[in-house]
Every structure is written in C-alpha cells, then in structure tokens.
Amino acid sequence: MSAIPWIILFTPLAAAAVILFLGRFSKLLSAGLAIGSAAVGCVLSWWLFAQPDPGETARFYWLDFGEALRIPIGVTVDHLSKVMLVVVTTIATLVFTYSVGYMKTEEGYWRYFAGLSLFLFSMLGIVLADNFVMMFIFWELVGVSSYILIGHYFKKESAADAAKQAFIVNRIGDFGFMLGILLLWAATGTLMFSELTGRVAEFASNPIYLTVACVLVFCGTVGKSAQMPLHVWLPNSMEGPTPVSSLLHAATMVAAGVYMLARIFPILHAVPVALDVIAWVGGITCFAAALMATQQDDIKRILAYSTISQLGYMVLGVASATSADVPMFHLFTHAFFKCLLFLCAGSVIVGMHHEQNIWKMGALKNKMPFTFLAMVVGSLALSGCPLFSGYYSKDLIIEFAVVKYPFLGWLSVATAGLTAFYTFRLIFVVFLGKPKDDHAKHAQESPLVMLVPLACLALPAWVAGYGFVEKFFFHVEEPANVPHLLHPVLLVLFAAGVLSAFLLYRGADKDPVSIPFFANRLYIDNVYGWIVKNIQDGGATVLSWADRWIVDLLVVQVPSKLAWACGFVLRFLQVGNIQAYVFFFGAGVVGLLYFLIMR
C-alpha cells in the first residue's frame, strides 16, 4: 500500500530509461512505454485518491550527515498531493496519447517520448515531495525536461534560443527560491513541509526574516509560473511541439509554482507583507498578460499569454483566499480547459500543415467541426461563461480578491472582460470568416487518436466547476461581504467581450486594431536586451579594466619586476674570477664556523 506513491513516481523514470536505450528502434515501443507509464500512474492516482490519507510515509535519506544535514527523499500523500496527482497523471495520459497522432510525421519521435516521460517523473516528484530540498531537486529536473522538450527541434535556431531562455530565466527565479529555502532552514533547522508549517509561531519575534524568506521562496514561483518580470520565457517556449506546450506550459509545469505556494500556504498567511507582494505580482501579471494577448498573431502565443494571465489569477488567489483549495480549484479547472485549448490549437496546426499565424487561417469551422466544437467549449470555460468550469473557479478567486485587495480585484474583473475578448478574437479569426490561405482551404479534420483526448478533456472543461465535482475534490467556502454588483458586472463584461470580438473580427482579413505597445509585448524583451547588453557588458568592461590595471599590476608585474631587480643586483657577484669565488666560499665557511662554535 505504501509503495503505491513510489510506483507512481518511478514508473515514468523507468520508461524514460528504456526509451532512451531502445526507443530509436521502434516508434511503437517509445509511445507504448510512455503512454503505459502515464496510464499506470493515472490508474494508481485515482485509486490512491479514494484511499484515506496515510499517516507517516516511508522516506530514505539521500544525504545523511547526522544531525547537521539530513536530506530525505520521501513522499507525502495528503489531500493536496492526491488532487494534484490525479490532475497531472490524467492530463499526461491524454496528452501522451494525442502526441502519437501529432508527432507521427515529425523527427525525433523516441527523443520526444523519453523527454515526456522524464518530465512526468520530475513533475510527480514535485507533487509528492515532502521537503523543500526534494522539491527543489525535482523543480530543477522539471526545468531540464522543459529545456529538452522546448528544444526538441533543436536545429531551428529560435527553438534552441527559446530553450536556453526558458532555462536561464527559470534559473534566476530558482536562485531566489534557494535563498528562501536556506533562510527557512537556517531559522528552523528543518526542511520538511509538515514541520515547517507547524513552526511558524517561532518567527513571531522576527517577522521581517520570515517575510524576506517567503518573498524569496515566491521568486521560484515567479520564475516557474511565469509571473512578471520573469514571464518572458513562456511565449517563446511555444517553439516546442504543441503537446509539450499543452502539458508543460499550460497545465502542469507552470502550475508547479502555484502548487508550491499552496504547500506552504499556512506559512505565507502568517506574513501579511509577503502576501501583499504576491498579490500585486499576480494581479499585475494577470492584467498585463491579457493586454498583450489581445494583439498576438500566433495562435499558440495567444494561448501562452492567456496562460500567464490565468496563472496571475491563481497567484492572486493564493494571496487573497482563506484556504489553499481556492487557487487549487482554479488550477484544476484551468489544467483541463487550457490543455484542451492547446490540443485543439495543435489539431488546427496539424490541419494547416504547421502554419501558426491566425491571419492565414479562416473558415475552419466546416473543415474541422469537432476541433471547432472542442475549442468553443474550452473558450467558454476560459472566458468565464456561466455553466462552464472556468466561471466557478475564476469567479471564486475574483470574489476573494475584490474583498481583500479591491484595486487588484477590480483589475482582475477588467481582465476577465479582456479574456473573453481575445479568446473569441481567436475563435472568430480562425474558425469563422473566409479562408485566407491555401492550407486553410484544404484543411482536414485530425485523426481519431488526436480527437479522443480532445473529447476526454472537453467533458471536464465543461463540468469540472459544478458543485458536485468541486465538493468531491475540494472544500471551499465563499467569502463574506462580496459586493452585490460583482456577478452582474462579470456577466456584462463577458458578453461585451464576446460581442466586441464579434464586431471587430468577424470576416476581417487583418487586424483592425493595432496597438504596437501590446503587440511588442510591452517592450519588456527590449528592456531585457538592453540590460544584458549594457549592464553586463559594462560590468565586463569594468572588470577587464580592474584586471589589467589592478590585478595585473599588483599581482603579476610587481613580483616579476621585483625578481628581475634582485637578479640584476645579484648579477654583480659573478665576477668571473675563480679566486674571488674561493674567497667568498672560504669567508662563508669561516663565518659559519665562528657562529657555530664561538657563539
């Protein structure tokens, strides 16, 4: 019984290892092993979900230096991890199956499935981790898998650059994360989540310390969950194959940041200042990403900015809600409908022979009806249409936000309207109107192996917000003092967003609205480029000057010149006269005798 979590954790790793060695010989083997491992995980996760929480779980000590440092590798099976396990494994199974159809004509088939299996292992490690160090290890592993998968088409320079950017930007966040972990460990001496959450009272004497530690730990989320200002990697990560985008960069990996915050929820809620920081970062991200999404032309990038925006919602939810189940609920529904949207986008891309610009598509409604239907379901869920899952989870967060942080709360309300706008902009341009390209004229519906996962995801995207589902997985309560106007305003904004998208984009051949500020992603990339170029180069110039004029002079020139000078002076002893040498020798011996015998 207690081995079940370990089996869930290590099966994908075993699959990845076998695929690594044998996968190149058989596509069927690679796909089969990967899907098999995910399916095993899925079944066992659902089974585990039904079981009551075990008390203590097994752990073994990976690094054991006695009392001073003892790093365990163990699993924690509680409500939070069980829900996340279900989400991760279910979506993984569906995406793996979908990949069989998507990657049929692509190169590097076995490499792809090995990377996906490795990713699944790493993600499950984050979910099951019972201490900070183990989580950090698997956090980095997830980053590595992401690098491998984003850079799948490594021969394309933009893909290689995107993979590097993803890893490096994540690393910046992870640096703060590690500092936060070290601070917490230095203060309490323990790294286990169960012990840390209980020891919050110890920090009462020094709240600044705890605040700083929590903000630093939040840096990890800023990196991994693509909050501002470290969000720049997520849109570029769309260079990877679409199933990768859907699994990693929509449903699971980016949600790991939110999951980690949910894990340390009691600690965070002991420090109001940290919560304020988290809320502002989440709120600003949410709004700014939605603005940027309204002007993107690549179908995957629209969804990427949408993901960043929804992650902002989740982070805002962590700060405003009273229980970790609130942001987790949105994470839950978002995983399903965002994954669905990405897989639909993938289906469209395959139908368009890997063309991704929405202005080259059009009228795909009739060519790809099933995809169209699934996409509409996902879009309605994303926009917060009543009766679809997104409405329940997102609006819950908005309620909490409006009560606790009014400015940010109403900002997120505005964002909800923007969400509806850009989502339906995508629908109207891609599926309605006239075909704008040859590919669009000859598009075909995707094969069954890709459509079945779409169906399997469309159902939870629709119903996952309903009460009975919510009660099955979570325990949430509505906040008090919710303004009465909130729900009507949200509905009006939803309708307004859809309507304005309809009016602006129905039948449009090119974008009637042009806002370069949003289209160029708020020029943040340019800022980063400037920083790297000027500050880094400037720093390098200063160091080079210091090296030449300080280090070289003091450490290199002075000893060498000194040695030369000594040599020059001593040279004059070489008189070339043998008898002079004998004299020196004899005088030295006599002197030595004098000092040894007479003194």
């Binding site: 008898q579 002079a580 004299f583 004899g586 005088a587 006599v590 005798l593 004098y594 015998i597 007479m598």
Partner: protein, 167 residues
Amino acid sequence: MQLALFCIFAAFTLAFGLGVVFFRSPVSSAMSLVMTFIGLAALFVTLDAFFIGVVQVLVYAGAVMVLFLFIIMLLDLRADQRRPVKLSAWAGGGIVVGGFLAILSQVVFSLPALEQTKPALANPAVNDVAQVGLALFRNFNLPFQVIGVLLLVSTVGVVVLSRRELK
C-alpha cells in the same frame, strides 16, 4: 724521542708545504708536494697507521704526483713571471686564513680532552692492515663497491674529456 721525531717530521711537512705555495716554478712546487706527502706518511706511521702511511706513499706520491708532473710536462709550463702584487687578493687571503687559524687555535686550546697523550695500545704489535681490511669489508662494504664504480666513472670521464674533438 717520540716528541723529537714528531717535531722533525712536522717541520719537514710544513716547510715543504710552504714550498708548494711559494715556489715560482711549477716543477719545484710539484716536487715540494711530493716531499710533503712523504712527511705526512711519516706522521701517519708515528700514529701507528701503517697501512694508511703506505697507501699514502703509493697512491699520492706515486700516482697522483706522477700525474701532475706528466701534465706539467705536457702543457710545457714555464716558471711564472713576476706579476705585480694584488693587494685585494692578499688581503682576502689573509682574512680567510687568519680567521680560520684563529678559530682553530681557540678550539684546540680550550678543550682539555685534546691534551691527552697517545694512549697505550692493548696489543702494540697490532696487524694494522688486517684490522683496516676487516673494518672495510665488514662495515663499509657497500661504500667500497661504490668507490669502485666511482673510479670507473672517473676513468670514462677522463677519456671523454681528453678527446681532441671535444667541443
């Protein structure tokens, strides 16, 4: 009697030693050196070191000095011309030699253990050669063998160094 013999031989040795240094002709110096070695051999005999005395005459006076004389003849050295006295050399020499003698006399006259006269031997007719041989071959066999190698090496070295075409 012993003291008289000692004084004679010591004076003999020292006189010819001075001769080595002060004769201008190299041959005269070489012959003085031969006489010095013989005087030393006599002193060794007064110290009951018969074997060493004989070896001294055989090797030093017999072989080494012959070698010296051969070289003097080979190089056809003439007597040194009178050269002007170099004050710095004489001063330097005086300092070193004087210093050494001062230290030596200081040491010798301050240790009472050095004032002992020759202690009597247990067996006055000791077989000196046998004793030295035993000491050599029992306790110092390895250095003895190494000395053999050293002589070989020096032979080879001399042959190499004497080649006409040596650059």
